[in-house]
């Protein structure tokens, strides 16, 4: 893959994981030696690579995972507000992924199953701690909650796919995944 021409200034990138398995982030780290190239081209805002807690103004936001609870909605909206370009990273962000397979069950059944009927959880209660984010009735892909600019499917997308996508973006090319880089699984 050809290295991207350097942009005029370093682009600021933030990433987060909503209802995802962190697999996409792992895959992101999987771009290996390119990671060094990448830090030459971009600087990180909120991401697993930094301690920044709240996302600030950014050029690019990468979202892993679908929207499963109120907290996810807040974080996603924060990202949308702060990122000029927002990317759905991975199957869960793109179409809800595995977590969305609970969507045909009523929420009450899911919660009761988890908290009340599991062996060893006699008299289990559905937690009502205000600190805990409430779950939405259905898990949603992120494009059903905010406007999303680009989509990078895959569970997870491969390191090379992520690298291709990012280098395209950084170089100012409309990102394109074709020829073996595009996968839904």
């Amino acid at each position: 893959m050809s290295p991207a021409p350097a942009p005029a200034r370093k682009l600021r990138v933030a990433t987060t994981s909503l209802a995802g398995c962190f697999g996409c982030h792992m895959s992101f780290l999987d771009i290996d030696e390119h990671l060094f190239e990448l830090v030459e081209l971009v600087e990180f805002d909120r991401s697993p690579l930094t301690d920044i807690k709240d996302v600030g103004p950014c050029d690019i936001g990468l979202i892993e995972g679908g929207v499963c609870n109120a907290e996810n909605v807040h974080v996603l909206r924060e990202f949308r507000r702060h990122c000029k370009t927002l990317i759905a990273l991975g199957a869960c962000a793109v179409n809800g992924g595995l977590p969305a397979q609970r969507n045909h069950l009523p929420l009450s059944e899911c919660l009761r199953e988890v908290y009340q009927f599991r062996p060893g959880l006699e008299n289990g209660q559905i937690p009502n701690d205000p600190e805990l984010p409430l779950p939405l009735d259905r898990v949603r892909p992120i494009h059903e909650v905010v406007r999303v600019d680009y989509f990078l499917p895959g569970c997870p997308p491969s390191g090379p796919a992520i690298w291709k996508f990012l280098t395209d973006l950084i170089a100012g090319r409309t990102p394109r995944l074709a020829g073996g880089l595009l996968h839904y699984d």
Binding site: A70, S108, E144
Partner: protein, 603 residues
């Protein structure tokens, strides 16, 4: 295999017997089988399949297709409120609500005692006397709160339908303007005698001279259609009268069927003479089932008079008879190839064309499908000659057209005009004032704004199958378009991807706007969907489905824009409502247990 209770089996076997155990009669059998218990329990389907020696899956496929066939229990009183936009404008929602409250049930649900179920249905063709409803298939018009009260009471008392006041079931013709067709007072058989005189060839030439074009929507030249069927190989040839009249706002065929049935049946026989056909079907929409007994009576009379059957009017080799097939709530069955599938006892899925019905139609035989009005008009040609017929109307649109006028006007009903009549003239005649828009040709037609009222009804200008719905200044054209989008989504047969999914997506966008979640981006998505539906759909239903949206977005765009809550993006669902279930399960109501539905409020 589960056993059936004894009585229904005997009755069911009677039904099967009457239909000769022909699989082509499957839809008719299902309709009559349903009369026995009000719905179609699984063992009934199994029994029918076994008796007809066809796979059960096929029976289930057909039973699941038609809106008026039920594979789940429905009420002993099955109330369906007609839900055309004209019914909505006359307050059908409020009336339905009132009836539901009086009978303690929710729309779409069955009451616990199995007494009653209430739901909506597509336009029942009572737009001139709405709001309308069907109770166990019987049409009732002119609903008012008073009528609703009485109906609730009679249902509660379980009074049999036959003992309901007769005036409930009186459906008037409301003929307001007559021209050549509606003024025709023909002695049954007179047109037939005239064409037998002309000979088959001579008669076809007469039809050719008349420039008669189809009144069912597409405007195809009738003589060309007949000649193609005549020249096609395959026997016996078939004449089908399309009395499905499902286009919202259209009810002119209802009036012809009610008061001019002889003209229709004679027209079918005239077609048979030209084509050399020996079998005829009238495909009657389920909503008009109440007309069946009187239509059968007309057929019986005609048989007795030698106008149907063998050697019609003593003409050797002129054999033709007509059977009436019922539909069961499926607009798509008005499309001629879906209609033929339905006649064959199948799901009403449009076929691939070519081959066209004129070469391969019913059971692969050459088949002519014509609209009710088209066929009735051929009597005029038989009696007065082709040239006389062609002399009225315009050069490309010969003769007259029946319009079904409804909506905001003083005198809704049937108006017959020579082609070429301007919209403005019609509006004046029916007493419409402050007219904002007219929907001509039904949901699939065009929406005309005030600046277009000088345009004329004609194939070359504003074509129409007959619907003419008027909206005055108090109406919101977005609501009109949305009602039509709901109609198409409900009626899509589901065969092809663009229409099956596209009409549902389009409905989703219209509802999103209506529910206060609209964003500018949605208008672009709507445009895009409109185009895909138009381009990629398999039949005319899907390709016409976006018409009301395309027209109103162009001519009444502010009706959409004023509903937008964001110029950028909005989710289609209410985020706070999506937390409601979790709130209830955790008994929480703290601020953290809520989300602002619109993001702006959060900032």
């Amino acid at each position: 295999m589960s056993a059936l209770p004894a009585t229904p089996t005997a009755a069911l076997d009677g039904v099967l017997q009457r239909h000769g155990h022909y699989p082509t009669e499957l839809l008719q059998i299902l309709i009559e089988a349903q009369d026995l218990e009000g719905w179609l329990p699984a063992p009934t389907l199994t029994h029918i399949a076994q008796s007809l020696h066809i796979p059960r899956s096929r029976v289930e496929g057909v039973a699941g297709f038609y809106s008026f066939l039920y594979t789940q229990p429905v009420g002993r009183y099955r109330v369906l409120f007609s839900d055309n936009i004209t019914d909505r404008m006359l307050g059908n929602a409020e009336l339905m609500d009132a009836l539901c409250r009086k009978l303690w049930i929710e729309p779409g649900k069955l009451s616990e005692d199995g007494l009653v179920s209430i739901a909506t249905t597509s336009c029942t063709g009572l737009c001139d006397q709405g709001p309308g409803m069907l109770v166990n298939g019987r049409a009732i018009g002119q609903l008012t709160h008073r009528r609703i009260n009485e109906i609730a009471e009679m249902i509660r008392q379980q009074r049999p339908l036959e003992l309901w006041p007769a005036e409930y079931f009186q459906i008037g013709d409301n003929i307001r303007r007559k021209d050549s067709l509606l003024n025709l007072d023909m002695k049954p058989g007179a047109a037939l005698a005239a064409v037998i005189e002309l000979g088959r060839e001579g008669w076809l030439q007469e039809v050719q001279k008349s420039n008669l074009r189809g009144r069912g929507g597409a405007g195809f030249a009738t003589a060309v259609k007949w000649a193609s069927a005549r020249n096609a190989s395959g026997e016996p040839k078939i004449i089908v009268c399309n009395a499905d009249e499902g286009e919202p706002g259209t009810f002119k065929d209802r009036v012809l069927l009610n008061s001019y049935a002889d003209l229709i049946f004679e027209g079918m026989t005239l077609a048979a003479w030209a084509v050399g056909a020996s079998e005829g079907f009238l495909y009657l929409r389920g909503e008009y089932r109440y007309l069946l007994p009187q239509l059968e009576a007309v057929l019986a009379r005609r048989r007795e008079a030698g106008l149907l059957g063998r050697n019609i009017l003593h003409e050797p080799c002129f054999d033709f008879d007509i059977r009436i097939h019922l539909g069961a709530g499926a607009y798509v069955c008005g499309e001629e190839t879906a209609l033929i599938e339905s006649l064959e006892g199948k799901r009403g899925t449009p076929r691939i064309r070519p081959p066209f019905p004129v070469t391969k139609g019913y059971l692969g035989r050459p088949t002519v499908v014509n609209n009710v009005e088209t066929l009735a008009k051929t009597c005029l040609i038989a009696l007065g000659g082709g040239e006389a017929f062609a002399a009225s109307g315009t050069a490309q649109s010969a003769g007259t057209k029946l319009l079904s006028i409804s909506g905001d006007c003083a005198a809704p009903g049937i108006y017959e005009y020579p082609f070429g009549v301007p919209i403005a003239r019609i509006l004046e005649d029916c007493g419409a004032s402050d007219t904002q828009a007219v929907q001509v040709g039904g949901a699939a037609g065009v929406c005309l704004a005030g600046y277009e009222f000088q345009r004329r009804i004609a194939y070359e200008d504003v074509p129409t199958a007959g619907a003419f719905m008027i909206f005055d200044g108090s109406r919101d054209l977005f609501d009109v378009a949305r009602a039509f989008v709901h109609f198409f989504a409900h009626e899509s047969c589901g065969f092809c991807t663009p229409c099956r999914v596209g009409t549902s997506l389009l409905q989703g966008f219209m509802d999103k706007l209506a529910d206060g979640h609209g964003a500018k981006a949605d208008l672009a998505d709507i445009d895009w969907l409109d185009r895909l539906l138009k381009n990629a759909s398999h039949c005319g239903l899907g390709s016409a489905a976006p018409n009301p949206v395309i027209d109103t977005l162009q001519k009444f765009r502010p009706a959409y824009e004023r509903r937008l809550v964001s110029l950028d993006f909005e989710p289609a669902f209410d985020l706070d409502a999506a937390l409601a279930e979790a709130r209830q399960l955790t008994a929480r109501d703290d601020p953290g247990a809520h989300l602002h539905t619109h993001e702006e409020e959060e900032k």
